[in-house]
C-alpha cells in the first residue's frame, strides 16, 4: 500500500507537517480557525522527533498486524481491508489508550477533541487523497508512495 | 521542418538563372524575359544580371566592371588600377537609352592582369591580391564601386526594373553559358546602383531574395578574414562567405552550401559517425556563416551556378531542367516562360543546394 515515508536526510525540522496535519484534521480546514478557534495546537498526528541536526517525522506505519487494532477495546480502531489504512472511528473511542501502549513506533498519542478522547494518529488523510503532511512538506522529506508490493 | 515551399509575402525579390551545362552560349533576352515575368516582385528600385562566358577574347584577364559617381573617383581608381595592373583593354560599358532609367553613373570596364611585382610585394595569392584591391576601391574611393571583377564574366546592374536594366545594358548583345538575374524590392538599403544585385567578388556573383537576420554575425566573422562589408546590404556576405569557404578554405561547394544553410543538430545527430563528425565540425567552425533568416539565392561562378534556400525554406525557389539546361527561379512561371516544355520541375528542400556545372568537355572547350 501507499504509505508516508520519511526521508530524514531532507527533514529540516520545520514541523510544518504537524501544522498541515492539524489543519487537515480540523473541522474548519482553515489554519487560523484550527489554531485560534478550535485550539488544535499540539494535536498533530505526526510527530517530528529531533536529535539535531537530525530530525524526522514519525507517523503510523499502518502495520499489517496492527497492535493498536488488536488492542482496541471498543472496536474503534480498524484497518481498512481495501486500503490498508489503519484509522480510528473516533466516535467509538473511549480513550483507554491501549493503542498508545501497543504502537511500536509511539505513533499514537492520547488526544482530545470537543471533550471526547481522540487517539492522535495518522489516517493518511484517507478522505483527502494525498496526506496533508506530504503535500505540504517544503523539502520533500515526506513522500507518499508504494514501496512494498502487495502490502 | 517547414516545407511549405513559399513564404507568402506580397513583397520580395525575384531571382532567376540558368546554365547550359553543355556550354552553349545564349544571349540575354531569355533571362530578361524570365525575370520580367516576375515584375510584381520588384519595385523598380533595382535590377541586375551576371553572365558567364561573355568575354572569351579576354578570358585570361580580370574584367573589372566599375561604376563611378563622378570623374574624380574614376581618376582615383584608374590611378590605383594603373599602379597595380597591366590594362589590356578598357572601355565605357555600352548602354542604350531607356526612358525609365534615370541618371546613370559612369560605367566603365577594364580588362586587367595584376602586376607580378605588386603581388610579390604583398606576399599574397593573386586572388587575395585581387580581393584586397576590390575591397580597397569599394572601401576607400568615394563614389567608386566595383560591380564585378571576375574573369570571362560580368555583372550589370542598376536602379530600375530588371528588364529595363537589361535593355539599358544591351544584354541581347552578350552571349553566356549561364545567366543569373535579380529584380529588386529593396527593404533595408537605399535604391543605389551599387546596391542592386548581383553582388560579386572575383568570379562569384550572388543574387538574393530575403533578409539575412544573421547578417551581423556573418559580417563580423568575414571581417576577421579581411572582407570589408561596404555595401550596407546582406547579400554581399553571401558572396564573401562562398569565397572564403570555397576559394580560401577549399571546401567543395556542396559542403559550403551546408555551411550557409546548415542542417539542424537533430539531423546531424542522426548521421553515420563519419558524416556526423564532418557536419559537426562544419557547424562548429563556421557557425557564424550560417545564413539565418529567409533567403533564396542563386550564386554564379565560373563554370556553374548554385541555387540555395535557407534551411527552413522561408523564401520561394523552384528548379527545372530540360536537356542540358538547369533553370532556377523564384517562381515556376519564370522557368516556363522561357522553357515551356521544361522536362522536370522540383522544389528544392530548405538547405538543399541545386548545383549546375558545365560538363567537363564543355569546360575544356570554353577555356580553350
Amino acid at each position: 500500500m501507499k504509505k508516508v515515508y520519511a526521508r530524514p536526510a531532507y527533514c529540516m525540522n520545520c514541523h510544518l507537517c504537524e501544522v498541515n496535519c492539524i489543519v487537515a484534521h480540523s473541522r474548519s480546514r482553515d489554519l487560523f480557525r484550527a489554531y485560534k478557534r478550535e485550539n488544535l495546537r499540539g494535536t498533530a498526528r505526526v510527530i517530528v522527533e529531533e536529535r539535531l541536526p537530525l530530525s524526522v517525522a514519525v507517523q503510523c506505519r499502518h502495520c499489517d498486524d496492527p497492535r493498536c487494532v488488536a488492542g482496541c477495546i471498543s472496536g474503534a480502531m480498524v484497518k481498512d481491508s481495501e486500503t490498508g489504512i489503519v484509522y480510528c472511528q473516533e466516535d467509538k473511542c473511549v480513550g483507554c489508550w491501549t493503542c498508545v501502549a501497543g504502537c511500536p513506533y509511539g505513533a499514537i498519542r492520547p488526544g482530545e477533541k470537543n471533550g471526547r478522547p481522540v487517539p492522535l494518529k495518522c489516517d493518511l488523510c484517507r478522505e483527502a487523497g494525498e496526506p496533508a503532511c506530504v503535500a505540504g512538506c517544503p523539502n520533500r522529506a515526506l513522500v507518499f508512495e508504494e514501496r512494498r508490493a502487495g502490502a | 521542418m517547414l516545407r511549405e515551399g513559399e513564404y507568402r509575402i506580397p513583397s520580395g525579390c525575384a531571382i532567376s538563372g540558368f546554365i547550359n551545362k553543355d556550354g552553349r552560349r545564349v544571349d540575354g533576352s531569355a533571362i530578361i524575359q524570365s525575370i520580367a515575368l516576375m515584375q510584381e516582385r520588384s519595385n523598380g528600385l533595382g535590377g541586375g544580371f551576371a553572365a558567364y562566358g561573355i568575354y572569351p577574347e579576354y578570358q585570361d584577364y580580370y574584367a573589372l566592371h566599375l561604376l563611378f559617381e563622378d570623374k574624380l573617383s574614376r581618376n582615383q581608381v584608374e590611378e590605383l588600377i594603373k599602379d597595380n595592373f597591366y590594362i589590356e583593354a578598357e572601355d565605357r560599358i555600352p548602354t542604350r537609352h531607356v526612358r525609365s532609367i534615370g541618371k546613370a553613373p559612369l560605367l566603365w570596364r577594364y580588362f586587367v592582369t595584376p602586376r607580378l611585382s605588386k603581388i610579390e610585394e604583398s606576399q599574397e595569392t593573386e586572388a587575395d591580391f585581387m580581393t584586397r584591391l576590390v575591397m580597397r576601391i569599394n572601401d576607400s574611393v568615394n563614389g567608386a564601386y566595383v560591380v564585378s571583377s571576375g574573369k570571362n564574366m560580368g555583372a550589370f546592374k542598376g536602379v530600375g526594373y530588371p528588364e529595363d536594366i537589361g535593355e539599358f545594358f544591351r544584354l541581347d548583345e552578350y552571349e553566356a553559358y549561364s545567366w543569373i538575374a535579380h529584380g529588386r524590392f529593396p527593404t533595408n538599403t537605399p535604391g543605389w546602383w551599387g546596391g542592386a544585385h548581383p553582388f560579386t567578388l572575383l568570379d562569384w556573383s550572388v543574387v538574393h531574395n530575403g533578409e539575412i537576420s544573421s547578417y551581423g554575425a556573418n559580417r563580423r566573422f568575414l571581417e576577421m578574414y579581411g572582407y570589408k562589408m561596404t555595401l550596407q546590404t546582406d547579400t554581399e556576405v553571401v558572396a564573401y562567405a562562398i569565397d572564403l569557404l570555397v576559394r580560401r578554405h577549399k571546401l567543395p561547394l556542396e559542403l559550403a552550401a551546408r555551411v550557409l544553410a546548415a542542417p539542424f543538430w537533430q539531423e546531424i545527430d542522426r548521421l553515420p559517425a563519419a558524416e556526423r563528425d564532418l557536419y559537426t565540425r562544419l557547424r562548429v567552425v563556421y557557425g557564424s556563416l550560417l545564413m539565418n533568416g529567409p533567403f533564396s539565392i542563386i550564386a554564379g561562378f565560373s563554370g556553374g551556378i548554385m541555387a540555395l534556400n535557407d534551411r527552413i525554406k522561408l523564401r520561394p525557389l523552384v528548379a527545372g531542367s530540360k536537356g542540358a539546361t538547369l533553370y532556377v527561379a523564384s517562381e515556376e512561371a519564370a522557368i516556363r516562360e522561357i522553357c515551356p516544355d521544361v522536362e522536370r520541375v522540383w522544389y528544392p528542400q530548405g538547405g538543399e543546394p541545386v548545383i549546375g556545372r558545365l560538363e567537363e568537355e564543355s569546360q575544356c572547350r570554353l577555356s580553350a
Binding site: 536526510a9 531532507y10 525540522n13 520545520c14 514541523h15 510544518l16 504537524e18 501544522v19 489554519l31 487560523f32 489554531y35 485560534k36 495546537r41 539535531l52 541536526p53 505540504g136 517544503p138 523539502n139 520533500r140 522529506a141 | 517547414l2 513564404y7 509575402i9 513583397s11 533595408n188 530575403g210 537576420s213 544573421s214 547578417y215 551581423g216 554575425a217 556573418n218 563580423r220 566573422f221 576577421m224 578574414y225 580560401r248 578554405h249 577549399k250 571546401l251 559542403l255 546548415a262 539542424f264 543538430w265 563528425d277 564532418l278 565540425r281 562544419l282 557547424r283 562548429v284 567552425v285 557557425g287 557564424s288 550560417l290 539565418n292 533568416g293 529567409p294 534551411r311 527552413i312 522561408l314
Partner: protein
C-alpha cells in the same frame, strides 16, 4: 565587555500576532538566532540586531505572519555619507578588521544590460515560432580548427569540443563554500539539461563523480582537490586566475567550513583554513600560464579543453588575446557583478569592470586579431535573466556562466552573509542542520526549470529576430541597440543607438 552599539539594527522583524499560530517554524529555521521562543511564557520574539533579512522565516511561516522591514537610516539624509558607509565605519571602529561580505557588487553602477535593447522581425523577414520550428541553442565550447576538410584532423594536440544544449552553464562555486546539497543540485541539473557545472576550486566530492562528465573542474591557486583522477574525470579543465567579485584577491574559506568531507575533497586537514593565494605562484607571466595550460593538457592527453577564467579588468582585451595565444581553448571572463562566498567589501564594490564592456572589448579584439575562432568566450558575472544572456551572446560571448541566479533559484535571498557559514537556506553552509534544508532533488528540479525557462525565452527572442540558431546571434551586435548610452559606450559595445537603422 559589551560596548554600546552605535547603530540601531538594520532590520525589524514584525510579527502579526493575529496571524501567528506559534508553530515555531521561524525559530527553528532562523540561521542567525534572530527568532526566539520563550517557552515559559509561550512567547515568540525577535532579536532584530541578529536579523540579516534572509527571509527564511518569512518564507517558511505558514501563517504569513512575518514581515521584515528595513529600518529607516539611522541619521539625517546624506547623499555623501550613506547608511552603508556609516555602518561600515562603525563596524570597523568596533573590530579594526577588513569589511567582509558575500555575493556580488550591489552598488548602483550603470547596468549596461539595461541600456541595451533587442531587435525583432517585422514584415520583411518572418519571425520564427519556437513552438513550431526547431530552434537551436546547442553550443560547442573549445578551440575551432579551421579550415574544415573532409578528413578528420590528425593533430593530436587538439582538444575535443564540448557541446552544451543551452548557452548557459553554472559558474564556479566550490564545495566547501556551498553545501554538498547545493553542489549536488547544480551537478544534477547540469547533467539533466545537458550543460556543465563548475566545481569551483574545492575539488569534486567522491560521491558526485557520476556527474563529472558535466563538470568544469577548476584548478585554482590553492590547488585544492586537484589530482590526476579529478582532471581526467571532468569534461573541461578551468584554470582560475581571477574572479569578478574580487579581482586580484585570493580566497579564504574559514576552518569551520572545512568539515571532514570538505577536507577530504580538498585534500587538506579538517578544520584548517583553506587559503587560496592571490596569484598562482607558478604563474607570474603569460608564458607561465602557457606552461600550466599544456601541463594540464598533457596530464589529460589532450582530451580536455582548458579554460582560463579571469576577472574583467581594465586591460582585459589584451590579456584575453594573450590567453588565447597561450593555448587556452576557452576564456571565461567574470564581470564586476560576479558573486562570491566571501570578499573584502572594498574589493567587491570597487574593482573590475562591467562584463558587457569586457565581453565586447574581448570579442572585438580577438576578431581584429583573427583569432576569435581559436577560443570560446564565456561571459560571467551577474546574469539576471535570459535577456542578459541574449545580449551577452549578441555582444560576442559563446556562452555564459550563471551562479547568483542559480543560488536565487535555490532559495538565496542575497543577504550577503555567505561568509558566516550560517546560511538559513542551506546553501552557503556546511552545518548539516542547515544544509539539509536544500533537498538536491528539488534543487536540481528548480535549476532545471530555470534553464528550461531561460532557454525557452532565448528561443523566443531568437525567433523574434528571425533566426533559429544561437550561433547566428553570437557577436551579432546589429540586433542590439543602445538606449541612453554615450558615444564612447556605444563604440566600446559596438552597437548603434536605438532609432538608428540597420
Amino acid at each position: 565587555m559589551p560596548t554600546l552599539s552605535l547603530m540601531p539594527p538594520e532590520f525589524s522583524v514584525v510579527r502579526d500576532d493575529n496571524k501567528c499560530i506559534k508553530c515555531l517554524a521561524c525559530v527553528r529555521q532562523c540561521g542567525f538566532d534572530a527568532q526566539q521562543y520563550d517557552a515559559e511564557d509561550d512567547r515568540l520574539y525577535a532579536i532584530d540586531a541578529n536579523c540579516v533579512n534572509c527571509q527564511r522565516c518569512v518564507s517558511i511561516c505558514p501563517a504569513g505572519a512575518l514581515t521584515i522591514y528595513k529600518n529607516p537610516p539611522p541619521m539625517r539624509p546624506n547623499a555623501h555619507w550613506t547608511e552603508g558607509h556609516l555602518r561600515n565605519i562603525v563596524k570597523q571602529a568596533e573590530t579594526g578588521g577588513v569589511l567582509l561580505t558575500g555575493m556580488g557588487n550591489d552598488q548602483p553602477f550603470p547596468p549596461y544590460f539595461d541600456r541595451l535593447l533587442l531587435n525583432a522581425s517585422q514584415v520583411t523577414n518572418p519571425s520564427i515560432d519556437p513552438l513550431r520550428e526547431p530552434m537551436e541553442l546547442r553550443t560547442y565550447l573549445g578551440s575551432r580548427a579551421e579550415p574544415v576538410s573532409r578528413e578528420e584532423s590528425k593533430d593530436k594536440t587538439r582538444t575535443p569540443l564540448v557541446p552544451i544544449e543551452t548557452p548557459i552553464m553554472f559558474s564556479a562555486m566550490s564545495y566547501g563554500s556551498i553545501s554538498h546539497e547545493a553542489f549536488e543540485s547544480l551537478a544534477r541539473a547540469a547533467k539533466a539539461f545537458g550543460t556543465l557545472f563548475n566545481t569551483g576550486e574545492g575539488g569534486l566530492p567522491e560521491d558526485l563523480y557520476e556527474y563529472a562528465d558535466h563538470a568544469v573542474v577548476q584548478v585554482a591557486s590553492g590547488r585544492f582537490g586537484v589530482h590526476a583522477g579529478y582532471l581526467n574525470a571532468g569534461r573541461v579543465i578551468e584554470i582560475k586566475i581571477g574572479q569578478g567579485a574580487k579581482p586580484g584577491i585570493g580566497g579564504h574559506l574559514p576552518g569551520e567550513k572545512i568539515t571532514a568531507p570538505v577536507a577530504e575533497t580538498r585534500m587538506i586537514p579538517e578544520g584548517t583554513d583553506a587559503l587560496s593565494p592571490a596569484p598562482h605562484h607558478d604563474i607570474y607571466s603569460i608564458e607561465d600560464l602557457k606552461q600550466l595550460i599544456f601541463t594540464l593538457k598533457e596530464a589529460t592527453r589532450y582530451q580536455k579543453p582548458v579554460s582560463v577564467k579571469i576577472s574583467a579588468v581594465h586591460n582585459v582585451a589584451a590579456i584575453a588575446s594573450g590567453i588565447a595565444r597561450a593555448g587556452a581553448d576557452i576564456i571565461a571572463i567574470d564581470g564586476f557583478r560576479g558573486g562570491t562566498g566571501a570578499a573584502p567589501t572594498m574589493i567587491r564594490d570597487h574593482v573590475g569592470i562591467p562584463i558587457e564592456l569586457a565581453i565586447a572589448a574581448v570579442d572585438q579584439r580577438l576578431r581584429e586579431e583573427g583569432i576569435r575562432n581559436r577560443v570560446s568566450l564565456v561571459a560571467a558575472g551577474g546574469f539576471r535573466s535570459s535577456a542578459d544572456v541574449v545580449k551577452a551572446i549578441a555582444l560576442g560571448a559563446d556562452a555564459v556562466y550563471i551562479a547568483t541566479a542559480t543560488l536565487i533559484a535555490l532559495g538565496c535571498h542575497l543577504c550577503q552573509k555567505c561568509y558566516t557559514g550560517k546560511c538559513s537556506w542551506g546553501i552557503a553552509t556546511q552545518d548539516p542542520y542547515r544544509s539539509r534544508r536544500l533537498n538536491p532533488e528539488i534543487g536540481a528540479e528548480r535549476l532545471y526549470n530555470l534553464l528550461r525557462g531561460w532557454s525557452h525565452e532565448i528561443k523566443e527572442m531568437l525567433g523574434g529576430m528571425g533566426i533559429n540558431s544561437i550561433e547566428s546571434l553570437r557577436g551579432n551586435r546589429l540586433h542590439l541597440r543602445g538606449v541612453g548610452l554615450n558615444e564612447v559606450e556605444l563604440k566600446l559595445l559596438g552597437v548603434k543607438h536605438a532609432g538608428e537603422a540597420m
